[in-house]
């Protein structure tokens, strides 16, 4: 299952984007990258994305707005939020309210980030 899943990572920080690409690729996932919300919206149209890892804090259109637009286009597309704020109740609740499947704090060791991602994925698949 792992190797077949195509993840779209969305983050305006190039180094972070590259890190996630390498991390998830090393775990056998297929990874696409988008440096912003607009690019992500364009990519989900033409690429067969299984799950989106979406940073909340981004310029132009932020993660919350991108999530809302993604859900308009593809309501069933699972989106997992990435946040640098740690557990920010207000933003997380807003994202969950808009249909996000879960959230991952960037302030975690990589192994934990992958573990959390897998846990969220398993709950999506159980549904």
């Amino acid at each position: 299952m792992e190797g077949k899943i195509k993840i779209l990572v969305v983050d305006d920080e190039t180094d972070a984007l590259e890190l996630f690409k390498d991390l998830f690729a090393s775990k056998g996932y297929e990874v696409e990258c988008a440096p912003g919300g607009m690019e992500a919206l364009a990519l989900v149209e033409k690429s067969n994305i299984d799950v989106v890892l979406l940073d909340i804090n981004m310029p132009v259109i932020d993660g919350i707005e991108t999530l809302a637009k993604l859900k308009q286009k593809k309501p069933d597309l699972p989106v997992v939020m990435l946040t640098a704020y740690g557990y920010d109740e207000e933003l997380v609740n807003k994202a969950l309210g808009l249909g996000a499947s879960g959230y991952i704090s960037k302030n975690l060791p990589l192994a934990q980030i992958v573990h959390t991602f897998k846990t969220v994925l398993s709950t999506i698949h159980r549904k």
């Binding site: 920080e13 180094d15 972070a16 890190l19 390498d22 991390l23 090393s26 804090n57 640098a84 704020y85 740690g86 557990y87 920010d88 109740e89 207000e90 960037k106 302030n107 060791p109 990589l110 192994a111």
Partner: protein
């Protein structure tokens, strides 16, 4: 024809001077005073006096030595309402004093004293009028002697001073009322001084504010200013009064050797009925509480600003930190066959990035906008989860520990996780302070005032007096590797719970944190 005494000219017999001199004197205003010719008088002096007395507004009475009125004027009837025939009898005093026996006795005694000596005497008393009303008469009596020099009676004159007295009473009533108002004012201190700055009056509230005894000798107004600012304050007041006629502002006042306090102070002129300044009125109010609230507001704003800054810094650091630690992790995951010196370097970088991660985490904890999930929680249940967490912490080694949980504690309104963090933070601080040697006590109990109190006590070195005010400030730390955010976080958690945190510390003996939470109302 007569000869003018001034110019020796002859003139008709109408004036004492000639026409020319009359014109001249008229100009000088002296004509009527000196030279007007008296008109011929057709009445006798006695008759004239009788008329004057009869028509006077002043009561005239002649009383014989048996104290019976014999002669009286119209004023007797006008003022008292009795006809003279009604009054001129033996029991006339019964009419004037009716059931006021004591007053009658006093008046009799007054008449007796007049009969004993020819010296005139003065007496004021209230008498009953025929219509039932009262009037106040001011008597000036003098004994009358006969041809042999014996006292034969008394000439009494009396002025009706009822209105005058009434206005005096009004003044007394107003004065008393003002005195009561002064005395009842608690929040404001009111006092008056004379022009020389001597205190002439102060109310009860003033005495309480300044810690004065009620019977304290009134002294200089300067006493209300502390020694160290006395001269400066007096100069400020003087300057303002000279320029604006008053002083309005804040000043530091002295509480009679019990310390100083900030106050609002107004000084205005005390004027007499002619508008002349005869002294000063000082009105002051203790604004210690207001100042504290202002200070708290400034502190809250400062903390909020620090919180925002912390959140911004945490966010900006988090991303590069994620990349550094992530890349390092991936590097070591892929290849652990590094030479020793590179391994040591990588371990150092890993350790330091981990430290940065903790700092960022704390910053986020401090600044996060998370509102507590309030629920009815049992403080003892939370404390039970804290102890094991503390016990496994390396800082806990060498510490003995005692717990006393109050029985059947009422629940409080709180967030379980935040309160757990609060107790853990303070407990850890206590352990760190004791440096692996000492005793930690955690006590919970219900207080009578509707609060549940948790006390966390250590036997560490204590907190220095100068540090005490700063311990809750973000980034203040006495530890080498501390972030200075632990107690700031605790403080914000306490505030969110409507609780109160008191710290009692003694150098060399230890510190106790007393955390009080309001009991949840049903």
């Amino acid at each position: 024809m007569k000869v003018c005494p001034k110019c020796s000219a002859q003139y008709p017999d109408m004036w004492n001077i000639c026409e020319a001199c009359k014109v001249s004197l008229k100009k000088e205003g002296l004509l009527r005073k000196v030279f007007a010719k008296p008109r011929p008088c057709q009445v006798s002096t006695l008759s004239l006096l009788e008329n004057v007395i009869e028509q006077s507004d002043i009561v005239f009475l002649y009383i014989d030595k048996d104290k019976r009125p014999m002669i009286g004027n119209q004023a007797v009837e006008d003022i008292l309402g009795y006809g003279r025939e009604e009054l001129f009898r033996d029991d006339w005093l019964d009419l004037l004093f009716k059931d006021k026996a004591a007053r009658k006795l006093m008046f009799k005694a007054f008449l007796d004293s007049c009969l004993r000596s020819i010296k005139s005497r003065v007496y004021e008393c209230s008498v009953m009028k025929k219509d039932g009303g009262e009037c106040i008469l001011s008597w000036r009596n003098a004994a009358v002697t006969d041809s042999s020099g014996d006292i034969s009676g008394i000439i009494c004159t009396a002025f009706d001073i009822t209105e005058e007295k009434s206005s005096e009473d009004d003044v007394a009533i107003h004065s008393e009322r003002l005195r009561n108002i002064f005395a009842s004012i608690k929040d404001y201190a009111l006092l008056t001084t004379n022009l020389e700055g001597k205190i002439t009056y102060y109310g009860k509230g003033t005495a309480e504010l300044f810690g004065w005894k009620q019977d304290m000798t009134l002294n200089d107004i300067d006493l209300i200013f502390p020694d160290e600012v006395r001269q400066k304050t007096a100069e400020r007041l003087k300057k303002s009064i000279e320029e604006y006629g008053k002083f309005e502002g804040e000043a530091i006042l002295s509480r009679n050797s019990q310390g100083n306090f900030p106050a609002e102070l107004t000084v205005t002129g005390l004027l007499d009925t002619r508008g002349e300044r005869v002294g000063y009125i000082y009105v002051s109010r203790d604004i210690t509480r207001r100042k504290e609230l202002e200070e708290q507001m400034v502190q809250s704003e400062k903390l909020a600003a620090i919180g925002q800054l912390a959140a911004g810094v945490a966010h900006e650091i988090n991303n590069p930190l994620l990349v550094i630690s992530g890349r390092l992790e991936m590097l070591t995951m892929k290849n652990d066959d590094f030479p020793d010196d590179i391994k040591r370097t990588l371990d150092t970088i890993k350790g330091q990035t981990e430290r940065m991660r903790i700092i960022v985490d704390r910053l986020l904890s401090y600044s996060r906008r998370k509102t507590p999930h309030m629920d009815a929680v049992d403080v003892n249940e939370i404390l039970k989860t804290v102890s094991p967490l503390l016990a496994y912490h390396p800082e806990f080694k060498g510490i003995t520990w005692k717990e006393e949980h109050g029985k059947d504690l009422p629940k409080i309104h709180g967030d379980f996780n935040q309160l757990q963090e609060l107790f853990l933070n303070i407990g850890l601080n206590a352990c760190q302070a004791m440096q692996k040697k000492g005793a930690l006590a955690i006590v919970s109990e219900e207080k009578k005032d509707g609060f549940v109190e948790v006390r966390i006590k250590d036997t560490g070195p204590g907190i220095k007096k100068e540090d005490m005010e700063k311990i809750f400030n973000p980034f203040f730390t006495t530890k080498d590797s501390g972030t200075g955010l632990g107690l700031a976080i605790c403080n914000s958690i306490m505030n969110a719970h409507g609780g109160k945190m008191d710290v009692v510390s003694e150098l060399g003996k230890g510190t106790t944190f007393k955390l009080s939470f309001p009991v949840k109302k049903e």
